[in-house]
């Protein structure tokens, strides 16, 4: 493995790390089976879903359980997002005003799904060395570029130097308050790639709330069914 010396903090290295984080669960194409557990003080639910991606811009998610939510699908192309609800046979486009709303009741927002691959394009990074820094990790502080529209005034990323795999992202609002923490753990082999199987999002302001996403299966660069990233496919009953 090629280790970067601790003093090397050139911008290219940061770009490399951000790109790696953006591409963590993606490739030319990907297919994954995922379990998402949402915990709140009032209820706990586990959703299972299938997710397809193509490049950096296209995502298609189909909820497979529980029964109530089965058949709900989400399509994202670039910055636009649609949901389909089979119970009512309706497609709903997510308007900009709802982007910060929760996706499927979880602690991930619609915006997260749309912007999940945008760290490299939308943010400027610089290396930092906090007092508790461990030598095996990069500590990168991200601030939005001038033209970026986002609610996060700062994102801190901690990633393995050796593999660029993130272990934590902390999101800050414009007042410098940490609003949520995303932890990555349980690195496993998925189709030849080493990826954290578990992502856990914990909002800081809501005690008792957290969402744990667990990758059960992931395949990369297979041929996907045709026309999968389309509104028509959104509404197809399965």
């Amino acid at each position: 493995m090629w280790h970067l010396p601790a003093e090397a903090e050139e911008p290219e290295d940061i770009q490399v790390v951000l790109d790696a984080v953006d591409r963590l669960y993606r490739s030319t194409t990907s297919y994954a089976e995922i379990e998402m557990a949402v915990v709140t003080p009032h209820w706990e639910r586990v959703l299972t879903m299938q997710a397809w991606t193509e490049g950096m811009d296209k995502t298609f998610i189909h909820i497979t359980s529980p029964k109530k939510d089965q058949g709900i699908t989400t399509l994202r192309i670039k910055n636009e997002m649609w949901n389909y609800f089979p119970n009512i046979s309706k497609v709903m486009k997510v308007p900009p005003s709802m982007m910060m709303g929760s996706w499927m009741g979880s602690d991930f927002t619609n915006d997260d799904l749309v912007k999940e691959t945008a760290l490299l394009d939308d943010y400027e990074g610089r290396m930092v060395s906090p007092p508790e820094a461990k030598p095996e990790f990069y500590y990168i502080e991200l601030t939005p570029k001038k033209e970026t529209v986002t609610v996060w005034a700062k994102i801190e990323i901690i990633a393995h130097r050796a593999s660029y795999i993130p272990i934590q992202q902390v999101y800050y609002d414009e007042k410098g308050k940490a609003m949520r923490v995303l932890d990555f753990r349980d690195i496993q082999d998925f189709d030849g790639r080493k990826i954290p199987a578990i992502m856990e999002m914990t909002p800081t302001g809501k005690p008792g709330n957290r969402t744990v996403v667990k990758y059960l299966k992931a395949e990369f660069d297979r041929t996907l069914p045709p026309d999968i990233f389309s509104l028509r496919n959104l509404q197809k009953s399965r």
Partner: protein
Amino acid sequence: MLIPKMAFRNVFRQRRRSLLTGLTLTLGFVFFSVSLGLFDGTYGRIIDIFTKDHTGHIQIHRAGYLDRPSLYKTISEGEDLERKLSTIPEVEALAPRVYSPVLAFSGTKTTGAQMIGVDPDQEPKTSRLATKVSQGRFFSQDSDDEIIMGSGLAEVLQLRLGDEVSLITQAADGSIANDNFRIIGITDRTSSTLERMKCYLPITTAQAFLVLGGRIHEIAILLHRQKDAQRIAAGMVDVLRDSSLEAAPWQIVEKPFYDAMQADYKGSYITLVIIMLIVAIGVLNTVLMAILERTREFGVLRALGTRPGTVFFLILYEVVFLSAISIAIAIPVSLSANSYLSVHGIPTPAIEWGGMVFDVAIAEVTFKSIWLPTAVTFFTAVFVSIFPAIRAARVTPVTAMRFH
């Protein structure tokens, strides 16, 4: 006993003078009393109209709901509670409600809205919602897919009566609530902007949609008299505390409105003080003239040996008697005037305020509209008489008798 008797006789002896002074006192009293009646009546009416719009006079919630509403802060066994509450004699009607933010969408348009679940039977008795439906109709019975939309919401989504609209939100069990509804009614356009972005479902439909079971968020209570609200709400505290519920009178639920009304009401005190001053000046004028005109008479009295103090009290007693008689006449006149105006009112130019239209000023018959003018008229009359009475008492007989 001589002085009061003389004073009493004097009042009737000088018929024209007494009549003039008495008329000033009576008219001043009536004017002031009707002003009070109209003020209280207008405020009372504004409060009535406002509270009957949606809020009601008392609202019951789970403790903490008013400060921070939440889908999960619910009242269980609302029906039991409703039954108990209906036994309170001051209660006129009550209505259970359910609230949730929702996404409403149709075609390509999506917007946020507030959904309120209302009882088709109880709601029309408790608030004016049913009368605000200007197109279509109110809920006739619990129909699964009927929805009433605010006019603003219908406009944003470009929907009309009979169209279908979809609602999405997070249910109380965490699942995604989604359903289609048929628009059977649209509320009118005179409500406030906030009001017009609301939509209504029959409460049982809303409960099923939100997976609430039988739980509700609010019981709105209408009393026969809005004035009882604070007292009755305070009386409920002990009973409700056991179930961690709280009762809030409208003064708390609609605190900004109440504060604004209070400020306005206090501002009207200035107007009332001005009216009082006008009445006082009228009384001063006539009483002063009455006393000055009798300077010669008082001079004769003094020349005959009457002590100044006696003259002073003579004048004062006259004023006391005259006031008492004038007030005694004025009271029934004011009462009938206020009574009449409490039913018919005075037409005014129409004002629109908070989504409601006011085009008539109504009076209210209150105890205050009697005792306050009585106190003011009486004490003003006596007070303004003191100085002229002192002067009259100390006049030198020779100068006085030469006066004309």
